[in-house]
Amino acid sequence: MKDWRYWLAEQRGTLLALAIFIVMFAIYTANHPAGFTANVVQTASNKGVLLAFVAMAQTLVVITAGIDLSVGMIFTLTNCLASWLVIGTGLETAFGVVAVLGTGLLCGAINGAIVIYGRLQPIVATIATGAVYFGIALLLRPFPGGSVNEDLADALTGRLFGVVPASLVALFAVVLIVWVPFSRSVLGRAAYAAGSSETAAYMSGVPIRRGKFAAYALAGLLAAIGGLFLTFFTYTGDAAYASGNAYTLFSIAAVVLGGVSLFGGKGSAIGAIFGALAFRTIGDLLFVFDFDPLWQPLFQGVILLIAVSLGAFALFRVRNRLEWFL
């Protein structure tokens, strides 16, 4: 077999997510009253990147065969924090951004420490820390409010050269700065190895703990970038419980749509990004077809079920029934 075939096989999940997204987005813009214009793309992009950041965060943890149910709450917490700190002169704003991102990193690191060194199950540990993070967010913003450096916000949610959505460029930059180095580093490799077979990784002398810890910490950072962008879009901080939870659950859906295996060891954040964009577009599709918004959750659920069952066909090939349960 040629090299490109292996590459293709490895990227299959990502490419499938990309295809789903393109098809849905094409249907969306074709039926949109304004059509495929810079404005429509900008709006879609601004909505899409929020989930994309959170989904990237989720990907990192899912790769290690864990799950992070606190990403949505880190997202909410950093949104509230940004509505206090990311304001004022250039220097003050810069400090605020660093503080917000540092907080996200710290939240992720706490998750990682509890899961790895405290040996708690990721699902329970992150439910608990998620509640804590939300509690802090609520103390910061008992009521929606606050403000943000509007020059920065407008720059990052506007368009470059009049056509390219700045949020999309920011997403691309984060992929280059965070995801690409991580996925190609020894730590990233360790995270994949630990997710695929922790025993084999241990036996091979792989730095499992450091790899998993890096994954959790970076997940916190990515969720914080999402929270920062939420502040840029809304100009306010809002400790909204339902929204935080929705982002957590949608991030899992986006990750699965993006070809990342919940059993760990397989998939990429790029796939999860397309999964997130596709998932967002499912919701938007209803508007262009003039459906009652009441239908949105039901419709999203059905599409998600169909997309996910595409991945279940491998079970038909299993010849030892005990392998169903592995």
Partner: protein, 515 residues
């Protein structure tokens, strides 16, 4: 072999797992530029020995010397650093990563903090070529490779770590003959380069071809070391056995060669590459053993009867009538009446956090319930019966089954199935990890059930058990029945010889007679 200075030496190494003694003051010296063969039965302590060497298991006592200075390894990574690399029987490859990723996993080449993919590719290709496996593409995912190719990747991975001591634990068990020949060439070349190789294998002919020096292990001790070729196969088998017999087995009934119609019969069962035309019969009242080395298809055979395997070819007959058994639920139906005591009681036999009572009634719930409601009184009667019959020692029926001792847990697994009064009982190495007293009770029980008319198919890795309990033993090798031993013909010598697929057993050795 260049003289007297060992590269690596172990002295007085002991290791216990709970009450089980895996190693007892074991010693081993490894010379540079030589291949050292390690022989021994299942459970003789070979695996524990190499796990100690490779830093996977910490010994309770004893010392290890590398180049004359004392060393100890906290992890496999530490042993790797010291140049000791082990190819384990259970593969240590990460399935979702590519071949190249796996080969460089322990010590990846980096540039600017990131893994250098070009260098990785080059190292992987070199290592694959060195292992004689250049046909494997470095970008292929390990999970997509067949077992024999994975084993070659495992060997390439070990070579890429530039070992000084290379340990191969049954490294050829999954390989094709052509690959074995290639690997032997590689190993001989490594020996010339001055490496010390430790070669653990059940295959006597491989040891004879490769090894310079051999050490035999028995009951956790090294019982003999000799220059390869200085002992005959028979002498080696003698060394491997040498155990005292314990009279803990119930007497076997004297019976005439079966004129009784079989209850369970298999005709030419085949499944993937693990089962190869297996035919057998088990009559009521008979205990038939499955022997052979671990992993020769015994487990798959039992699973095949129990309706777990898909794509099985051949026929299964119950009372002489062909049946299709589609699932464990179907296998336990009254007209078949089959029960399987699984190998791993903790995952396949019990729900550890649930109570003894709940665990006991799982298999019989359909009989104990009316319209989906469990008849508690009937359940209690049946449970009292089996708990009494098996003498299960438990503080109560409502404590978690995980709190019981290993032996009593195993009794619960068996009792669970006895509540259905099965006619056919399949046992998959049921005495692994339980104490001698409970073992003895299980042997008595097995015979009692057979006398009461059950047909029993019994796989054990313990030869003593097969000799003590079985009316007949079928020895499997490579998924096929290689030999049938009957009555007094079931001897340890015959079992080991046929397990190793040496023909004759008591007859002529094939090689090594030049001593």
């Amino acid at each position: 072999m260049d003289g007297a200075v060992p590269l690596f030496r172990m002295e007085g190494i002991s290791k216990r797992y709970g009450g089980v003694r895996a190693l007892e003051k074991a010693e081993l010296s490894v010379m540079p530029g030589s291949i050292h063969g390690i022989l021994g039965e299942n459970g003789a302590g070979k695996s524990t020995l190499i796990k100690v060497m490779a830093g996977v298991v910490a010994p309770d006592e004893g010392s290890m010397m590398l180049d004359g200075s004392e060393v100890s390894f906290a992890s496999p990574a530490a042993a790797n650093q010291a140049g000791i690399v082990c190819i384990f029987q259970e593969l240590s490859l990460v399935p979702e990563l590519s071949v190249a990723d796996n080969i460089i996993i322990s010590n990846p080449p980096t540039r600017f903090g990131m893994i250098d993919r070009k260098a990785q590719r080059r190292i992987a290709e070199e290592a694959l070529a060195r292992a004689g496996a250049a046909d494997i593409h470095p970008l292929a995912l390990v999970k997509d490779l067949p077992l024999s190719r994975r084993q070659m990747v495992e060997i390439a991975k070990a070579l890429a770590r530039k070992p000084r001591i290379l340990i191969l634990d049954e490294a050829t068990s999954a390989l094709t003959a052509a690959d074995v020949a290639k690997i032997f060439g590689v190993l001989k070349r490594l020996r010339e380069e001055g490496l010390a190789l430790l070669y653990i294998s059940h295959r006597m002919n491989e040891i004879a071809e490769l090894a310079d020096q051999c050490t035999v292990f028995r009951n956790g001790r090294n019982v003999a070391s000799y220059a390869a070729g200085s002992k005959s196969d028979n002498e080696v088998v003698e060394l491997m056995i040498g155990r005292e017999y314990s009279h803990i087995f119930p007497p076997k009934p004297v019976r005439l060669p079966a004129a009784i119609a079989p209850v369970l019969e298999a005709r030419k069962l085949s499944w993937t590459d693990r089962l190869d035309n297996v035919s057998l019969t088990v009559a009521a009242g008979e205990v038939v053993g499955l022997g052979g080395l671990d992993g020769q298809g015994q487990r798959e055979l039992l699973l095949a009867f129990f309706g777990v395997l898909r794509g099985l070819s051949g026929e299964i007959l119950i009372d002489g009538k062909p049946v299709a058994i589609a699932s464990p639920a179907a296998a336990r139906e009254d007209h078949i009446g089959m029960a399987l005591i699984p190998e791993d009681r903790k995952t396949e036999g019990l729900m550890l956090p649930m109570t003894v009572r709940e665990n006991l009634s799982f298999a019989a719930l359909d009989r104990l319930s009316k319209a989906g409601i469990i008849d508690r009184a009937a359940e209690q009667r049946l449970i009292d019966d089996v708990v009494g019959l098996l003498a299960i020692k438990t503080a109560g029926l409502d404590i978690p089954v995980g709190a019981l001792s290993g032996g009593n847990q195993q009794k619960v697994v068996i009792a669970k199935w006895l509540m259905r009064q099965p006619r056919i009982i399949l046992l998959n190495d049921p005495t692994r990890g339980i104490d001698v007293g409970t073992k003895q009770e299980l042997y008595q029980l097995m015979r009692k059930l057979a006398d009461a008319g059950a047909a029993i198919l019994f796989y054990s890795t313990d030869y003593d058990e097969l000799i003590g309990c079985c009316d007949r033993v079928l020895v499997l090798y490579d998924g096929a029945v290689k030999r049938e031993l009957v009555g007094t013909g079931i001897t340890e010598r015959a079992l080991i010889a046929s397990a190793l697929n040496i023909h004759g057993g008591d007859a002529t050795p094939r090689h090594g007679a030049d001593a």
